[in-house]
Symmetry: C2
């Protein structure tokens, strides 16, 4: 087992410099859960500082994941254990999307994860895209299997195998389903949440009678994702269409939401594919139309994964650690009671408990950190590092004046701190709700400003190269060939993230070829 217990996240998800190794050793020894009964002193978390955001973004990211206890590495290289505080973010994502999927007419179901190898080979571009990263089960119940099984990297093939049996006539359409599942892709370069060997996702699969209906569905779902990103995660994604080169293996068209991370790299945060008839032809998924003619169905698939959690961390986090948008935070408000003398403790804790009850009853997710083990200062840092949007402090003076001090996570120091807010229900509850809404909006506004100040319009390949070399996003007219696109990737490291739906008006000239162009594309380096 010794060989498997690698020293820290940085080493297993190796991307950055070797100098990180000593720093993160024993991280998990120092950031401990707080307990109300403990007596022994523990090394303060401050000793284990997070690498500054600006100094080394990757090290910062791994530090935040480790110290905020979002995830840990699994024993198998490239796998990840999602810890409760990180999983709670995924649950919040699930809760929102699950309702939206049902509202838009989809039912949840579950397909087996083992897919006969022969299925993967049926759709030509699909097998080309996925075969390098498959995990294969070759032994079951002690015996070598006759046909090796693929651990699903995605489910289009098995879905179509079943759809072929369930769909007979146009009356069976549309067929609109979703599943929440784990998927496996044998990635060589992994990074927690962003790219792991196994990850969690939802995958929607639909079948329609017409091409137009499938297109409408694919667009509807990218719209659901866009709204989710803006309204819940406060991430101002750019929705658009992927280039041919970047289109999903087996799709006619892929729509995407692209998010700008704190290091200005792009993150593909969700995709929706118009699969056309590619899988229905490969699997013979046909229906009898109203005239009794057999036709192949038109399909879509769409997915958001635990990668999105990484996107939240890398959009909003700062040098102090994680910063969670209130709508996805499992703890929206933390209460830190402050006392010095023993005789102050009871009245302060009583007041803190009553504030907790008031907020809890109002539907606010609140935690009281009443541990004896840590100083208030330590707790302030700890819960800031954990990204809790609002902190309420209650000391002996506050108890006498029946008021509290409220600090915003998104505005550091004194400017984010307000004194003397009444702890009475009719004042406190609306105040806290308003502040949470303000933080939610403010995170989005800040992310929009950051995004917009880092997208530069370019009209030539030289300009594009210059912008990419500054680690920004370049936006310019494009009708280049696949080869042109691959050349950009090779020479600059940037890819076409999307042709955004939101297109500037007026005539355009391709930045690469000089030909008239219909659309601008966004180029960026990406995760």
């Amino acid at each position: 087992m010794g060989a498997l217990r690698l020293p820290c996240l940085t080493s297993i998800f190796a991307v950055s410099s070797a100098s990180l190794f000593p720093r993160c050793r024993n991280n998990h020894l120092n950031v401990r859960k707080l307990s109300s009964t403990a007596k022994v002193e523990v090394a303060p978390v401050q000793e284990q500082a997070i690498t500054p955001h600006s100094q080394d973004f990757n090290a910062w990211y791994l530090d935040v994941i480790s110290m905020a206890e979002l995830a840990d590495y699994g024993p198998v290289r490239g796998t990840m254990v999602i810890r409760p505080y990180g999983y709670a973010i995924w649950e919040a994502i699930q809760d929102y999307l699950n309702i939206k999927f049902k509202e838009t007419g989809h039912s949840n179901m579950y397909f087996p994860q083992f897919i006969p190898y022969s299925f993967i080979e049926k759709e030509a571009s699909h097998v080309e895209g996925f075969s390098p990263e498959l995990a294969l089960v070759t032994v079951g119940g002690g015996k070598e299997l006759e046909e090796k099984l693929v651990v699903r990297p995605t489910s289009e093939t098995i879905v179509n195998h079943m759809f072929t049996q369930w769909i007979q006539s146009y009356r069976d359409l549309p067929l609109m389903i979703n599943q929440w599942a784990n998927v496996t892709r044998w990635e060589m370069r992994t990074k927690p949440f962003i790219r792991t060997l196994e990850f969690l996702w939802q995958e929607g699969h639909t079948a329609h009678a017409t091409s137009e209906e499938a297109e409408r569905e694919a667009m509807q779902m990218i719209d659901v994702y866009t709204k989710f990103a803006y309204e819940q995660a406060a991430i101002p994604v750019i929705p658009g269409r992927k280039s041919r080169v970047e289109t999903f293996a087996g799709a006619d068209r892929t729509y995407t939401i692209e998010a700008m991370m704190g290091d200005r790299k792009a993150l593909q945060a969700g995709t929706s594919h118009n699969l056309g008839q590619n899988f229905s032809r490969a699997f013979g998924t046909q229906f009898a139309d109203e005239n009794g003619q057999r036709q192949h169905v038109w399909q879509t698939s769409w997915a958001i994964s635990t990668r999105f959690v990484g996107g939240i961390i890398m959009t909003h986090g700062d040098d102090a650690g994680l910063m969670l948008p209130p709508r996805l935070a499992s703890i929206q408000v933390v209460i830190v009671p402050i006392w010095k003398k023993a005789n102050e403790k009871d009245e302060v804790l009583d007041a803190a408990l009553s504030v907790k009850d008031v907020l809890h009853t109002a539907g606010i997710k609140v935690k009281l950190d009443d541990s004896d083990q840590r100083t208030p200062g330590w707790k302030f840092n700890f819960w800031e590092m954990k990204g809790v949007p609002l902190r309420i402090e209650i000391g002996p003076h506050d108890v006498s004046s029946r008021s509290v001090v409220i600090s915003r996570r998104d505005i550091p120091g004194k400017p984010g701190k307000v004194f003397g807010i009444s702890m009475e229900d009719p004042v406190l509850v609306p105040y806290v709700k308003e502040k949470l809404n303000e933080i939610q909006s403010s995170l989005l506004d800040k992310a929009i400003a950051f995004r917009d100040s880092n997208i530069v319009d370019v009209s030539s390949y030289d300009e594009l190269k210059e912008v990419i070399s500054q680690a920004k996003w370049a936006r310019g007219p494009w009708v280049g060939s696949d080869e042109d696109e691959l050349k950009v990737k090779e020479e600059t490291g940037a890819t076409i993230r999307c042709f955004p739906f939101d297109q500037p008006q007026g005539p355009k000239t391709c930045l690469m070829t000089g030909s008239p162009a219909e659309e601008v594309a966004i180029f960026a380096k990406s995760y």
Copy 2:
């Protein structure tokens, strides 16, 4: 692909006679989703009758699963596709238990499904129990792996690997987590929901500082399961302790809830294990106690799976098909509008829609079947087969009298039908809610009566054999050895299902050995 498209569930989950094959061919062609726009006639579902319950219980079970569209077979032998109507039952189970787990202090998280083979070998009885049914990944990303990976059959080993890193001192305890996940066991004899190669479950894992605390936790969780079974699923399970022979591979004690199915076979419907220090010793999971002494943690694990859905089907179903307890039904009330003349249709549909809205607003899960394609009689049979607890009929006469006809699924024919219930909100809503509660109680009462009339107290092995040969459960005092227990299994096909918590008073004499016994055990054939 042809070879994989087996004709019906009966063939792939082969348990019963070959005579089932022709009957279930093309099942999925006949039970179609209803559509409100279709014009073409479809073969009536009645042609495809369900095998009577009493004639062949297994065929009945497979017919119900197929015709009610609960599940279908996957392309890999022994795997199952859980269809939306079946998955909705699992979602209802999840919704309830997820809240209970959190109320009892557990957090959700997620562990990777790939476990290094060496982990499985660490706990001696664990490897013995699980190695015959493992699926192994031997190839990843096109390369033969150095160490083969187990696709989790359960997660104790990987959980302990992580717990060892997270737990340092008593302040880190108790550590109480749960995950919702898929697991794989290479079963040879499979049956949808009951025993499949891959299934869905939740697995709770906890670590404690003392043996007593672990025991309390194991008991607490079997109690959560028992309450769930009684109150939500209307299944009067018998909670108790497993015999040594039947204890989980790696546990000190296994608690179980045992349910009696319609054929009087027992179903182990949920288990909770006191793992003692078996895994903590194997994985070195230690904590420093208050005196700074290193000790191994005391652990539990507990699980309920999609098998429970099979238990619901086999507890309540009858010759007409599925019967769902209202609290777990995704459709609690179906409205069937009835009209003959075209001029009646609009007013009937208007009334049906308004009744639907009233019930929906009151939080009742209601469906309006307004299809033109089927007769009311067909719809009655169809929704009875799907197990919907209540049916509301609305015809032209009802519209004039502003009333509806209500039929209970659990009371067939006229005795279950009530005419002239006002369709006004203040009357209808409480009436429907009351009826749903009555059905919920009535299903439980019926199942209790069935269970109790099929458990026979025995005082000798001859009596036990007689009772088991009548396909009943035998209850008798037991202090037999493991060998005695295995002899009973060999000679009668029955196993000790549990030593029930609810024990009769007074002195007892072991039915097998004649020695004084402390407890009675329940013997039965089981799934």
